[in-house]
Symmetry: C2
Subunit: 331 residues, 2 copies
């Protein structure tokens, strides 16, 4: 590996001082056109590229970077949120370093980014002690599930009230028997299925006396489709189904097609997330929409506050974003 070309080498070749090289390369004026030309040539000849670390080290206004750990790039919910965060971050002058927790796990992702960013943002599901260790003391903004750690802030979604409102509205629309499809997500990290918070809210809010028609499926379109078929087989009387997320709900709509069940006439299907993708099915998916733009904006409010305090210790900030019912066609 050839030794790195530094500003010094360029200066030597051009026969000037390092400072002059710096002037030429940064369009700083106070330099004669001729010298500038010579420097630029020398620089090009050597293939010189300034060290970003040195440059940032000396810069007054440090560039700030946030690490965004995405659970999966296969699920459009995360990519849509990534897009919103990227946009919001750019407008506020933040760089975004992304990592997917999918292949190596989020702990590895955190570890890898720990020396490169000023703050973390993401959905984290690993056990807290592991997170605590991997983060390397860097402040974190947790996106959905509340995590109770030092230097950890959160932007939560009040899903409970969203689900409450959804159940009320479905009933107002005439639904008499509402079932649910839950994600088997917990199985990825633990050997035994644990009901998701969404399911817990659902069961709590549907009322104690009612029978609970819930089926668990894989978190994908086909998983949703299969789960829907299974659910309707077991509970033919259902006239509404709340689905863990839009991806699975899209599958559920397809499952209904396959069964010859009319949506929403025979069964209303309601997703959670509010993906743009929900427009892709017929009928378009009704959903409990999580406002991702607001989520991203709040997350950036937090990191901006952190930056203002120079990333020092701070009392945890906690924002709550309320979901909004989006009635398209399927419910």
């Amino acid at each position: 590996m050839a030794k790195r070309v530094t500003i010094h080498d360029v200066a030597a070749l051009a026969g000037v001082s390092r400072q002059t090289v710096s002037r030429a390369l940064n369009d700083m004026g106070e330099i004669s056109g001729e010298t500038k030309q010579r420097v630029l040539e020398a620089s090009a000849k050597l293939g010189y590229r300034p060290s970003r670390f040195a440059r940032n080290l000396v810069a007054r206004k440090k560039t700030r970077a946030l690490g965004f750990v995405v659970a999966s790039f296969r699920n459009p919910y995360y990519t849509e949120i990534a897009g919103d965060l990227l946009e919001c971050a750019a407008s506020r002058g933040w760089q975004v370093v992304m990592a997917s927790g999918e292949s190596e796990g989020e702990v590895a992702a955190l570890h890898m980014l720990a020396s490169q960013v000023d703050a973390f943002v993401g959905h984290f599901m690993s056990p807290e002690p592991q997170l605590e260790k991997a983060r390397g003391g860097i402040p974190m903004v947790v996106l959905e599930p509340p995590v109770r750690l030092r230097r950890t802030h959160s932007v939560e979604v009040d899903l409970r009230s969203g689900i409450e409102e959804a159940i009320q509205s479905l009933r107002a629309k005439g639904a008499r028997s509402i079932g649910m499809i839950d994600s088997d997500h917990s199985l990825r990290s633990s050997p035994v299925y644990v009901p998701s918070p969404r399911r817990r809210f659902f069961e709590e809010l549907i009322g104690p006396s009612r029978p609970k028609a819930v089926v668990v499926g894989e978190e994908s379109i086909t998983g949703g489709s299969r789960a829907f078929v299974e659910l309707l087989r077991a509970h033919p009387h259902l006239d509404a189904v709340l689905v863990f997320n839009d991806l699975m709900a899209i599958g559920a709509v397809q499952g209904a097609h396959a069964l010859g069940v009319k949506v929403p006439d025979q069964v209303r299907i309601l997703g959670i997330d509010g993906l743009g993708l929900g427009e892709a099915v017929h009928p378009a998916l009704s959903t409990i929409s999580l406002d991702r733009q607001a989520l991203a904006a709040r997350a950036l409010d937090v990191v901006d506050a952190l930056a203002a305090a120079d990333f020092g210790e701070m009392a945890p900030i906690r924002y709550v974003v309320r979901p909004r019912l989006l009635w398209r066609g399927s419910a």
Copy 2:
């Protein structure tokens, strides 16, 4: 804004020298447990966090970062590729800093990342002089359209042969009259529509004598749906349609539903991209699949080569990835 807490401050508070602090914080041994403890406490008390720039500046093995400029996070093609690239990059020890060209434009995105990354990867459509200026001398790997610039390498997709094979196969399946839906993408940057390369290949390969049934639509699901309806209205005899990309093709399948046209019996619909999303419609979308994993892997081959040459000048590398026909249900 409080002055930054440096290693010096920690050293002062703990009553030791800076290197001792460094030792304590980096688990370097050669330090008494007691001192270490004291340093750690001081560090925690002050909320000290090492400067990532200083740390990297002095590090022997520099962390390498690549900037990935995504045209849009709304189009799953890009997010899927982003996911593959992220995964591939992580496994090879690269950080990925992402930026979307959507809001501020890709030139702005390049400019913003120029001082933070060692190489760029992305789909770039801006005029070359602008790219050249915005990149700040940083080597680039262009993903699809060939760009001819210094320090610019490319991973191309041989779409021409993919389209050729597609047309042959469609004909072998009995298609007699093949139309196409093109993207209006060029309208975003220029006031006048310019046929996409995909369309040019199509028209060239469909044969000179045949009438060309092509319609232009917006690059989205609904855009594809509308374009399909328009296309079939104008050319009712069509029995196969090649669509600019899968997103629009999904819309086309829906448009067919709306028109009561049977897919693939009456009209075969073939997309381009190979999105996993193509499974979400009925019938599942047949498509000219671009192998995104391979694309990502080749891109990383290039940047690895660049890194091996310490990002010095290099002869342009050019990889070509061949697409593969993926027959699902719609064609």
